[in-house]
Subunit: 334 residues, 2 copies
Amino acid sequence: MDDIITLSYGSGGKKTSHLIEDIILPSLSCDELNKLSDGAVLDVFSNKIAFSTDSFVVSPYFFPGGDIGKLAVCGTVNDLSVCGAKPEYLSLSLIIEEGFKIEELKKIIKSIEETSKICNVKIVTGDTKVVEKGKGDGIYINTSGIGRLIYEDLGKDKISEGDAVIVTGCIGDHGAAIMASRNNLVDEFNVKSDCAPVYELAQCILQYGDKVKIMRDPTRGGVATTLNEFVENSEFTIEISEEKIPINVETNNLCEILGIDPLYSANEGKILAIVDSSVAENVVNDLRKIELGKDAAIIGYVTKNFPSKVVLHTNLGGKRVLSKLTGAQLPRIC
Amino acid sequence: MDDIITLSYGSGGKKTSHLIEDIILPSLSCDELNKLSDGAVLDVFSNKIAFSTDSFVVSPYFFPGGDIGKLAVCGTVNDLSVCGAKPEYLSLSLIIEEGFKIEELKKIIKSIEETSKICNVKIVTGDTKVVEKGKGDGIYINTSGIGRLIYEDLGKDKISEGDAVIVTGCIGDHGAAIMASRNNLVDEFNVKSDCAPVYELAQCILQYGDKVKIMRDPTRGGVATTLNEFVENSEFTIEISEEKIPINVETNNLCEILGIDPLYSANEGKILAIVDSSVAENVVNDLRKIELGKDAAIIGYVTKNFPSKVVLHTNLGGKRVLSKLTGAQLPRIC
């Protein structure tokens, strides 16, 4: 076996077979994938499914709290989870830059194996491409996923005045971990990506049936951008209170030093949910019983005071409109 | 609107919304995609589905007979088709290099629109990432697809001695078109990619029910590599006759000048099928009634003469073992 990936590994010929048989299958083996067919034939046990895709280009591809492999599994599993589905099957497509170390590829595949076991999903089909040196950046990974739909009545149209806004834990940690890595601040700041599957949190919230209006995982663009997506082009306002927003001290400190607002910093293991206010406290209490949800909090409410806007009530008693992220606060965060 | 893609377009914020709303949705609008949710909720009308993924990194991304957009739709639709499924839904994930011309992106999206209409598939979910200049090469596209399984009894294990090998048309055209482009030979050689959906051809073959053993579309690595996949680790041999293999004169000439064997040159609109010999001539006659199948031919048979090997009977009366492609004949062909 070579030490690095060469262009031959993307030829579709012998080297591609080696890569699949020696590196990928030993970790990700399952009946469907082992067939190495052009596609996988799957049982879905349901007429309604959720389908999601994400390409991951995060830089660096190893970061505090995770790596691009863990992220690629969690990212798609989380998208399916917040749609109200149980994630079942993933595809895995790699775009590898010539010269990439096979040792690093093995680590990433191992991480994909471990994370997909935790998430109880199977990698059932895949693809590998290799691009010339200087036409990529180590490795890019696409995962697409299929989930069995369990709860289908989520949507922006369900939001109404008085609903509560819940976040399932401390905000901004993934973005902070990436920034710390890039700025060589990992030793000074104890920040770690929150990269984790949110399926259990989503199911916990969905126990409340039609009292749950919509859920999203606030990744790129952070909490502020996702909240904007909830109310844009609507008659509603989301008003949140700075003092209610859970945030790790170290993440907050790092954001302050780098001049970045944690409300725009990415999360990879959190849910933002809008629920009927009558159940909001119960939802939060239930979430707090789960390790990943121990810092869950009601951070605000839906009003009609400033249509289509997200408004932050600051610790100093002021109000600030939080628009969607403008510009590129942090490229290649996920 | 800007002229080029900047990093902000991948931020998940305002520019990403513009890109989706102004460039992608006008072409690819459908109920599922328009929701811009984290995933799409889909009816599948069946408990069995086929699921496939492919990342496309073809260079150049515009080539004679197609472009990366057309290829990205056909590629995944074809994988589903040869699995015995009716392609229904696609995901679309773009990795765009900073500086990419928005005019070119629009052309590619237009091409995706047209091709998905021809294939009768809907783009239901998507993702867009932007990487820094020098960390990509224009645009890379992943499509993943879901098809309703119509016929599920295909597989290598169905192959038996005496079966016929059918190809649905002239071989090697996609590889030839890419090579002509890269070598500035487009004016001298009238070669065009065969990039096209093969669903109709697949359905035509599948009329013959359990007489059909396996189908694949011979993309990267060409006909020779796919035939090897059929018999590797088996007791069977595939013996094909050079004189029976349909090939366009211009493709043949170009391959000769570049010293490339057309049996290893990629196809993007062909099927290789193994069928019971009792129906082989009828299958070919039916295929020939379809424009895309007009050059269909029986090119060989399954024997047990040289276990696990593919053997070519040459025009000169010799025999040659065709192994899987070794090395990278042509990187980034798809």
